[in-house]
Amino acid sequence: MDTTAFRRGVRDVAPLLLGIIPFGLVAGIATVNAGLGLPAAVGLSVVVFAGASQLAALELLGQNAPLTVVVATAVVINLRLLMYSASIAPYFRDFTSRWKAVLAYVLTDQAYALSVANYRSDSEADRKWYYLGVAVTLWAVWQVTTVVGALLGTGVPDAWGLEFAIPLVFLAILVPAIEDAATGVAAVVGGAIAVVGAGLPLNLGLLVASGVGITAGVLTESATGGTDGD
């Protein structure tokens, strides 16, 4: 173990915890609000370990949406992990399969973003241990905060509208995801259709809106000539 690299990863991720801690608490509280117990909160956080999809799944379970819709929605939200996996894979090429399996499990938005930035900066830090410093810290903080949130959850009065914190978290992730006109069109179209389709049965509004929004983005990019990849 390269403790210097690991500690550097922990230090670099520390400022981001300010966003992760309330997010984790909300995920825990949302579990209770959806009528699920502590085991489900722990299960979601350990097995899925992807905040936005956990919240979406909880919201849909709370509304008794069909289980296929719950799964489809959560997985669609996590499709972005494919991009991170592809982007970070060249840096993990020389590791053993067993290490790759472990590193993949703790791959998150933040672990991806910090690590790739560090690798590209020609840092001397050991790649594996820097990544683990970031990713394992996030993992541990996420587990603890969701459990704390689930334990606190029942004590919070309804009037506080704590479930409103969930779309606020999504909003904070959404804004940086709008990088150009085409992604802006995808967001506007996806959002507008979701508002109109909110009454659709089986929570299909969300999936339809996502699909049409993605299509609108791709078409916009084609029409404007696009950015030609990167």
Binding site: L36, I77, P90, A165, G191
Partner: protein
């Protein structure tokens, strides 16, 4: 808003989402060597997933058009939080603004 699903169904859903999410994470990390890069078509489509999906999740919480009526408190709180998100790109600041405005409207006005 509480689920009618039992523990077995919940556990099943968690397991399926977990396996598929892990598959997304492991995909290219495991494939490299056999597949050298993400197919351009896939990459083009994936680029729009976060914006479209997140917007579809967020907007209906801020703007309600259904039978429950228009919720002005959520709309105002959401709009101000969106402004803060735009300026700061900070999760914490966005949450503090949105919840703060919602509570101010509900408890102070």
């Amino acid at each position: 808003m509480a689920t009618n699903y039992g523990p077995v169904e919940i556990a099943g859903v968690i397991a399926v989402i977990g396996v598929l999410t892990y598959a997304c994470r492991l995909s290219f990390i495991a494939l490299f060597g056999r597949l050298d890069e993400i197919p351009p078509v896939v990459e083009r489509v994936l680029r729009f997933v976060p914006a479209a999906v997140l917007a579809a999740l967020v907007l209906p919480s801020f703007v309600t058009l259904d039978a429950t009526g228009f919720a002005a408190d959520k709309f105002v709180a959401g709009a101000l939080a969106a402004g803060v998100a735009w300026q700061t790109e900070d999760v914490f600041a966005t949450m503090v603004t949105g919840m703060g405005v919602l509570w101010a409207i509900r408890f102070l006005l």
